[in-house]
């Protein structure tokens, strides 16, 4: 029972790291970026290449995945995304889904279509018993890291100057610019940061979720569920939503395997009926 709860929390945490970048772009920048999973995939492949080809330690791969994905995000934001901030949402959807397909084809071409595997350092693999509960070491590592990130993210957004600039830029772009905030730079940095988080999530998820060129499509649904259930205006909303979904998914598959995969969709529908703007909506937008 507790093991299932633990696995669910680990899975939920991973979903949160993968999806929270999407919360930022969707909720704060009002841009529908379906290609978010492609950044996660980039981070995953960076890890695979570094570990398997060059034998670099897993711990160095995590920041590298973040930096590379963030860098790719920054370049794409400056060259492509920024022209679409004012475009209708349908254009954004078409544009970003196009990017997804290009990313899939490119990855398949360069890396091949097979599942990529990484071998974790020994201290992270296997499991241990904590008060009689079987706990996977890697999952524990995931939970701790993701929890730290979630707190840091919340603090950055609510307490730092950059956070307030970002919120100002989102609420009213023109006034923010009038006050001397360099909105394009704020947006570019935010976008890069969100992409970087996705990259980190992809790197961490390679072990649990697997990694192949279809990663962005496979997980797009999960990202969107997290964001739509959690709402897009806070960090804590998607955080709780991801946890809830992770636990529901794992528990559903454990206790009722026959209908397990449907549990999270049922949950999503119920949540959307009860709280159409997400768990912690600031009121209608």
């Amino acid at each position: 029972m507790l093991t299932i709860l633990f696995d669910g929390v680990a899975y939920g945490m991973l979903l949160f790291i993968l999806a929270c970048g999407l919360t930022v772009t969707l909720g704060l920048m009002n841009f529908i970026n379906l290609a978010h999973g492609a950044f996660a995939m980039a981070g995953g492949y960076v890890t695979v290449i570094m570990m398997n080809r060059y034998g670099i330690s897993f711990y160095w791969c995590l920041p590298a995945a973040f930096i590379v994905a963030a860098f790719i995000g920054l370049i794409l934001e400056r060259t492509l995304y920024q022209w679409l901030y004012q475009a209708p949402h349908l254009d954004q959807v078409l544009f970003s889904i196009g990017l997804v397909f290009m990313a899939i084809a490119a990855t398949d071409y360069f890396m091949g279509g097979q599942q990529q595997l990484i071998n974790l350092p020994p201290e992270l693999s296997g499991r241990m018993d904590v008060f009689g509960v079987g706990v996977g070491r890697y999952r524990l590592f995931t939970i701790i890291l993701c929890a730290v990130l979630a707190v840091a993210l919340q603090l950055i957004l609510s307490k730092t100057r950059f956070g307030s600039r970002l919120r100002a830029a989102v609420d009213d772009r023109r006034v923010a610019m009038g006050l001397g905030i360099n909105v394009p730079v704020v947006f570019a940095l935010t976008f890069a940061f969100g992409s970087g988080l996705a990259g980190l999530g992809g790197a961490m998820g390679a072990e649990i979720l697997g990694l192949d060129p279809n990663f962005p499509l496979k997980f797009m649904i999960y990202f969107l569920i997290v964001v739509s259930v959690g709402g897009t205006s806070t960090v804590s909303g998607p955080f709780l939503a991801a946890l809830l979904l992770g636990i529901a998914d794992v528990a559903g598959k454990y206790y009722v395997p026959a209908i397990g995969p449907f549990v999270i969709y049922a949950l999503m529908i119920i949540m959307l009926i009860v709280r159409p703007n997400g768990l912690f909506a600031r009121g209608g937008r």
Partner: protein
Amino acid sequence: MLNRRTLMAAAGVALGCLAAVPAAAQEVIKVGLILPMTGPFASTGRQVSAGAKAFIAAKGDTVAGKKIELVIRDDAGTADQTRRIAQELVVNDGAKVLAGFGLTPLAMAVAPVATQAKIPSIVMAAGTASITKASEYITRTSGTLPQYSLPVGTWAAQNGIKKVVTLVSDYGPGIDAEKWFSKEFKAKGGEITEAVRVPLANPDFAPFLQRVRDAKPDAVFVFLPSGAGSLFMKQFADRGLADAGIKLIATGDVTDDDILNSMGKPALGTITGHFYATAHDSPENKAYVEAFEKANNGMRPNFMSVGGYDGMALIYAALEKTKGDASGPAFMEAVKGLSWTSPRGPVSIDPETRDIIQNIYMREVKEVNGELHNVEFATFEALKDPEKAEAK
């Protein structure tokens, strides 16, 4: 001006005729190879096509006075594409034989085309038993899930395993595997304590594995398509199922030779049943593996590649028998009862069902010269597909 243009046109026509003459001297038989070369199942396409090419490279491109030309088309793993490509190949390109088909639904989509156009179609990868029943013109050189799940059941029952939980992907081949393993295992006195089905697009095996662990069986029988298999293997080890005394037995798809080596230590000791292992010990296989790895940049040939290789072997043998007649009825008549020595061992085509009869090997994952391999330790000889054998 007009004269000159007519003259040029005439010259062009004449040239065209000239060019056509030598080609007509040696008739070409086009073989349309439809495979998922892109998308999630691209590795299937790569392996099968490399296997087919390896055969042509080894045996030359002429048989019974006809030149064999491979036309490889990509269906990206979607059934409606496979069907459209099959029609195009037959109608526009004049393909005489169709082959390939990475997945069951893709093979099924081609069946009506094969029947209507009387085109021999050779399944080189897909593994659901019922495919060959879909058309008179379908034959197979891979293997069927019942064919290599059943012996795993026999082996398990004979080797002190009493209680088993099955865990399969929830689609055609998975259900085939579950059904035939359980049937055989129960008939031999074993007990299936639980049957878990995992959705095909399943990111995390944690809950299912925990369920297996809590059921405390002697072994877990697994079928998963090869990519998902590697992920499963890691989580199996991480969750400590092996330490809890639960053995892992599976079909060979899970320890696919193509990716086995990258699975690392957790894969060691896994017992699987399948029709081909790269490490199979025979002179035919040694030659095949060597030529294959050389032509494909060190890629290991897996069971799919040998399906492609034997598919071409089948086409050559049938054409030799019909003296180059590739028309549907004659070709299919020749296919029935064909037998040859493949890199995987002796194989033949069942005259009644057009499905392949072959040895199924029990293997264990071991380290050989620093690389992980499926090492064969027992053989079930000349097995037919049990599903069609039973139906009679």
